[in-house]
């Protein structure tokens, strides 16, 4: 195999594996930019995966499945928003509760869907024009899921919104200094609610991608810790949607490279690679002092009139 096809193959696999990570990370970036950590990504993803599969299988239309995943993810995030924003509960514990609850509920409701393969998975597409670009065209724009393309496009749009629009200023100021934002007339609670719910919608779609496209089937606990990797990537990407793309590709690439080593290592070691990478990328981020990008009010509930 020549080096060109080697690069193309690695990039392709990196993107396919990374698509749910990208959707999840983009969502978590928005929630955290508004000052709310949501450790419930794993729970929202698994609920999204189950609802996408169940609806896609029942209706025969995978897109309705993805839509259902988005709605369910958003509703799950609404629970977290209520506890962390309105009740000002500990965000870490609320997110953990959401993950425990989501894993439990999907296991409870998903038993009848186990072991069925989806009739109509999400189709793949090639983008005309762009796919003609040498090397990159084959790697990025040929035979990927629609959700991969939408995810990449979304990253650019979300970056633009965050840094170049009034909405972005509102979101960032709510995450940096909610009391200042409040004084400027921004509705802190509304912004936080919307960002957390938006994050949930994206996490739901991320889960849906797994069950109606990547696998395409439903198994209990099929997200297998991806939700936690999303949270690691959010930090690694320094809360920046464009850097998230880089992080996801790097992560997916490392993961794929690990698979190339399967001749020399037992499969269990390759399977634990992503989790080891997640720690590794955070350690690298620590060395790079990425923490400077963290929203100042991250994790802190806002009480009006109190500092």
């Amino acid at each position: 195999m020549g080096w060109e096809s080697w690069i193309v193959d690695t990039l392709r696999r990196a993107l396919a594996y990374g698509t749910p990570l990208l959707w999840g990370t983009l969502g978590e970036i928005y929630a955290e930019r508004a000052g709310v950590v949501n450790l419930g990504v794993e729970g929202m993803m698994i609920l999204g995966a189950l609802s996408a599969f169940a609806v896609a299988q029942s209706t025969g239309n995978p897109w309705i499945g993805v839509l259902a995943a988005a709605v369910v993810g958003g509703l799950a995030a609404l629970i977290h928003a209520f506890f962390s924003v309105t009740l000002r509960a500990n965000q870490y514990v609320s997110g953990l509760a959401l993950t425990i609850f989501g894993l439990g509920l999907s296991g409870l409701l998903g038993t009848s869907w186990v072991g069925i393969s989806l009739k109509n998975p999400l189709p793949k597409a090639t983008i005309p024009g762009l796919s003609r670009i040498p090397i990159l065209g084959d790697a990025l724009f040929r035979d990927h899921s629609y959700l991969t393309y939408i995810g990449l496009f979304l990253a650019v749009v979300l970056w633009f919104v965050l840094y170049k629009t009034r909405w972005g200023i509102s979101i960032r100021s709510v995450g940096e200094s909610p009391s200042t934002a409040d004084a400027m007339g921004i509705n802190v609670f509304l912004v936080r609610y919307l960002c957390v719910i938006f994050g949930g919608v994206l996490a739901g779609v991320a889960g849906g991608f797994l069950s109606v496209e990547y696998r395409p089937s439903w198994t209990e606990g099929m997200t297998a810790g991806m939700g936690w990797i999303v949270i690691a990537l959010t930090i690694f990407a320094a809360w920046d949607p464009l850097q998230a793309v880089g992080g996801v590709v790097l992560f997916g690439g490392l993961y794929h490279l690990a698979y190339r080593l399967q001749r020399w290592f037992p499969p269990e070691f390759l399977k634990l690679m992503p989790y080891a990478f997640a720690i590794l990328v955070l350690a690298v981020a620590g060395l790079r002092k990425v923490r400077r990008g963290a929203p100042a009010a991250l994790g802190l509930p806002y009480v009006r009139g109190q500092r």
Binding site: L96, W228, I279, L282
Partner: protein, 370 residues
């Protein structure tokens, strides 16, 4: 102070014990109510479900013993997490630390060559050490490289789970197990004694209760306990007082991981007598212990009670699976609900609510303005 109709809300700085107990019970009750809707939606009468659970767990000796046996790993992990949470170290990794202890115990039992009366103590010592090592790594990563403790401890769970899988499918697979992914059975001198007609490995239970008492003493009476509390309550004050963040983090995770490791020793030496699939060694005890510790609100002694409560939920999960044919994951749903309601009622802990009669209204309104 705020008012809403006839109700006056006053802030209080420290919640009373009675308020904590009352609101915790309220949270559990609320979770039970939501749970009955889930039973109902699943086509099972909630009354029948709860009566089955009550009869088979609290209503029989066998049931009570099952609760006790489930409570043992929850207690050990829970006490460790109480210590970690007091220092605001988010150890979500008890599951992996438990498995590390189980691996070390298995090594002593099958491969160390040690035998006789020193074998079980050695299993506990090395189990503690293995759990502690698995806990200390995230502590170092957090202090030295600012690696988020939630993520690192969680990832370490997955890494240890796959390590256990590798052991039982690879080098440690038992030659006498006919191709199943288990290690060989431990020799008899590596089995923990049980309370008669039960699966309660009482030595681990005794260690668990001793650990709770010791942890309470450490937190309230020692310099380390003081430093843990300062780091947890006010990191700035800890900084100015010259308390070593690294030192406290390492101690906290050594104890927290070590205790979880002991829980792993108990599970393999008391129940399974071999190393097997990670999710059979532990049914998510390390994750449930997070709720055990949160409900205990920083008190290791309270963890004795809360671990029994969640032991009951695990025992109930078994019964629901057998008697009502519902998946065991129902325990996860219930655990998540309890955790939500617990943090939900927390808001009320810091408010004193009183009813004010019409005549006094003006007086209160006046005070509120001042």
């Amino acid at each position: 102070m705020k008012r809403l109709g006839p109700f006056v809300f006053e802030r209080r700085l420290a919640p009373t014990r009675a308020a904590i107990l009352g609101y915790s019970l309220l949270a559990i009750l609320a979770a039970l109510i939501v749970m009955s809707f889930i039973f109902w939606a699943y086509g099972v009468s909630p009354i029948k479900a709860y009566s089955v659970i009550g009869r088979t767990t609290l209503g029989s000796r066998f049931g009570l013993m099952e609760i006790l046996r489930r409570a043992i790993p929850l207690l050990l992990c829970g006490v460790g997490l109480v210590i970690a949470f007091r220092a605001k170290f988010w150890n979500i990794g008890a599951e992996g630390q438990l498995l590390a202890g189980a691996v070390a115990a298995t090594w002593v039992a099958l491969f160390s060559g040690v035998s006789g009366p020193m074998k079980l103590p050695l299993m506990f010592v090395l189990g503690f050490a293995a759990g502690a090592v698995w806990g200390i790594i995230p502590a170092l990563l957090k202090v030295k490289l600012q690696v988020n403790d939630v993520i690192s401890t969680l990832m370490m769970n997955y890494i240890m789970a796959y390590f256990v899988k590798w052991l039982i499918y690879g080098p440690w697979r038992g030659p006498t197990m006919r191709g199943f992914a288990y290690t060989d059975l431990f020799p008899r001198d590596a089995w923990l004694p049980l309370i008669r007609h039960s699966k309660v490995h009482w030595p681990t239970l005794v260690i668990g209760i001793a650990a709770a008492v010791l942890a309470a003493l450490i937190l309230s009476r020692t310099r380390l306990g003081y430093e843990i509390r300062v780091v947890g309550d006010s990191p700035d004050a800890a900084h100015y007082a010259g308390i070593s963040f690294l030192g406290v983090s390492l101690w906290v995770m050594l104890l927290s991981g070590g205790l979880a490791g002991l829980a792993g020793v108990g599970e393999v030496a008391g129940i399974h007598h071999r190393l097997l699939e990670p999710d059979h060694v532990s049914l998510g005890y390390g994750y449930t212990a997070i709720i055990v510790a949160w409900l205990a609100r920083g008190s290791p002694l309270a963890a004795i009670i809360t671990s029994l409560l969640f032991g009951l939920i695990f025992a109930a999960g078994d019964e629901i699976k057998v008697t009502l044919q519902m998946p065991f994951q129902i325990t996860g749903v219930f655990n998540g609900l309890i955790l939500f309601f617990l943090i939900g009622v927390e808001v009320f802990l810091y408010w004193k609510i009183r009813v004010v009669r019409g005549g006094k209204e003006t007086e209160w309104a006046g005070k509120a303005g001042s």
